[in-house]
């Protein structure tokens, strides 16, 4: 064995543990997923029947699937930009290095580490039609609040509200780290050059310097939003009339309510493709910017 060979073997050995883990827990399940999506299978059965693309055509013909697509896109399109704006605003606020903000920072991060089931149940109470705190507060101002979770129109906004509250702290911490990585000498130099603190420094220094963080937050937020499930499961069960059924919820229903693992796997495969395409587009976009 030559030295080069030995090096190569050593290199592969070093990569092996990570490679094995990835292979067993990521690559293999993805292959299995695609395989199941081409079969008819109820989870209890030992046999799978090959049905080619019948699962995919069944899904495309299902109104419920398209409703779930629209719901997921709406959910993502609202929560990502609004959530990022809120988190950035909070991060900017906390970045002013005042001592008292330490407590505030912890308080804002608490929702992130709270179990979404527990938080969901609390939100069900808050959003209760006539006894909830939210409608009670609205009544003070003379506004007759909607029956949030039982309304086809308001259930989605209610779930979005809960999501924004829950996720704000996570992105805020990321932004905060990004902000604190910007050297203060840049701001000082700008000040000497006559830049006014506030909007001008934000636009010319903070925003461009923060871009790598913003980009990362964007990618992660989109993926998280695409995977939304537990809030809906706890708060609305995907209803009323499917108005909060996201793609993941749809997969869950197909698999466990209807026992159709094949169709559930087909939707999951499509979701995987969508998320991969989105991420690829985002990275290309970033590449070009640089």
């Amino acid at each position: 064995m030559t030295r080069g060979h030995r090096d190569a073997v050593a290199a592969y050995l070093f990569v092996l543990p990570a490679g094995l883990l990835l292979g067993i827990f990521v690559i293999y399940p993805i292959c299995e997923l695609c395989y199941v999506s081409l079969h008819e299978w109820n989870i209890l059965d030992d046999r799978m029947t090959y049905v080619a693309t019948a699962n995919y055509s069944a899904i495309f013909a299902d109104d419920g699937f398209w409703q779930a697509v629209v719901n997921t896109v709406t959910f993502t399109a609202v929560t990502v930009p609004v959530g990022m704006a809120i988190s950035l605003a909070l991060a900017l606020l906390l970045d002013s290095r005042l001592k008292a903000f330490g407590i505030l920072r912890t308080a804002l991060f608490t929702p992130v580490v709270t179990s979404s089931v527990a938080a969901g149940i609390v939100f069900v109470w808050l959003l209760n039609d006539d006894r909830g705190l939210i409608n009670g507060t609205l009544r003070w101002f003379g506004v007759d609040g909607p029956n949030w979770l039982q309304s086809e129109t308001w259930a989605m906004p209610a779930v979005i509200l809960m999501w924004l509250w829950k996720q704000a702290g996570y992105n805020m911490v990321l932004f905060l780290a990004g902000l604190q990585a910007i050297p203060s000498s840049t701001y000082e130099a700008a000040e000497i050059d006559g830049a006014r603190p506030g909007w001008q420094t934000f636009r010319l220094i903070t925003w461009p310097q923060l871009w790598p963080t913003t980009f990362f937050v964007l990618v992660v937020s989109v993926i998280f939003a695409f995977r939304a499930f537990d809030q809906m499961y706890v708060m609305t069960r995907g209803g009323p009339v499917g108005s909060t059924t996201t793609l993941v919820y749809y997969v869950f229903d197909k698999a466990f309510k209807f026992g159709d693992m094949g169709q559930a796997a087909a939707v999951s495969t499509l979701m995987l493709a969508m998320v991969m395409a989105l991420t690829w587009m985002q990275f290309r976009f970033r590449h070009r910017e640089e």
Binding site: L44, T236, R237, G239, P240, F252, K257, F258, G259
Partner: protein, 408 residues
Amino acid sequence: MLTWLAGMACWGPPAQRRQVQITLWHGMESGINNRVLAAKIDQFNRLHSDILLEAQVYGAADQLGPKLDAAVAGRTPPDLLWWAPAYFPKYAKAGVLRSVDDFIAQDPTFSKDDIYASLWELGTMDGEVYATPFSANNLAVYYNKAMFARAGIDRPPQTWAEFRDAAARLTRDGVSGFQLPIGTSEWTVWTWECFLWQAGGELLTSGKHEAAFGAPAGVEALDFWKSLVKDGSAVFSEADAGYKMDDLLSGRVAMVINGPWNLALLNDRTDVDVGVFPLPRDRQAATNIGGESLFLFRSDPAREHAAWEFMKFVMSPDFQVDWAIATGYLPVSKSAANTERYQAFLRDNPIVKVHNDQMTVGRARPSIPEYPAMSAILGRHIEAALYGKYSSEEALSRASADVDRLFQ
């Protein structure tokens, strides 16, 4: 290695060193029912020195499906499962349940005829019994007596028309007359099925592989529910939680549809006076027989036999009377129902008597593997109709088309 670990696990305190250890999964939510069950299991373990039965709670019975599927696929189901009999065929078809026919035939201490035939029917598929009755129940209307008096209703409504009228009269001062179960789960569906039967409809054609609920009777039943919503005299329950009594007990609604297992809960609440009357009739009277059964999962002969011993213990008159009196569930055997102790209990508990008398008009859901999926389809379309997305006719014809596809 595994055997060694399993061997180590047996080194417990002497009381736990039994030959056969079996697990029972159940989803009883009421504290009182749980206490009674725990006491009964203790009694069983004392009576059988070679068996140790351990109970584990799985949470809401409505939400068990995914958990059980995962447990079965992972080859770790319980030995015994307490669940609604409507769900067993799916698992029997998958070959993971053990039929109890040979146990029944070979056990001279057990009399099959003592148990109501309709309950055996619920647990039978293709001529074999897979689920043995644990307890029985059915649905009736629970109402707030004070609100009835205030609205000047002195006799419980007996027909759909009277019911609709009562609901409207009870709706006032921020109180709604009636609470409709909403959500796409089985609770909504099994409640609605009563109304389908009352209108003279059927779930499936006699061959049991074609939907029949889309017929005019089904449309009438769904239209009746919609009319209550349109009148403004019915509100929706929390999604998938139509079984909760909270809104009745806190005075938000005057009537809900529920079952006799609430007896203990109602006895605890002396602040509200709750009465019960049979479900209103249309062309005929009907209610849905529920209750739970025990499913026996395949394992090895020793464990299966131990599990059968518990099934037999549960069906004994002694267990049935104790259980029925403590919880309000209805006994599953004639000998239990006829005991002087139970008859005396019925005289003191008119709530349970209403349910007991209703057993004669009780209908059962079909024991077919497709039932859970069929229920999910129906639930979804009933909800859509109640939200006004479809007319009753369109909702049910869409649901029928989907259900028919299940049988292809």
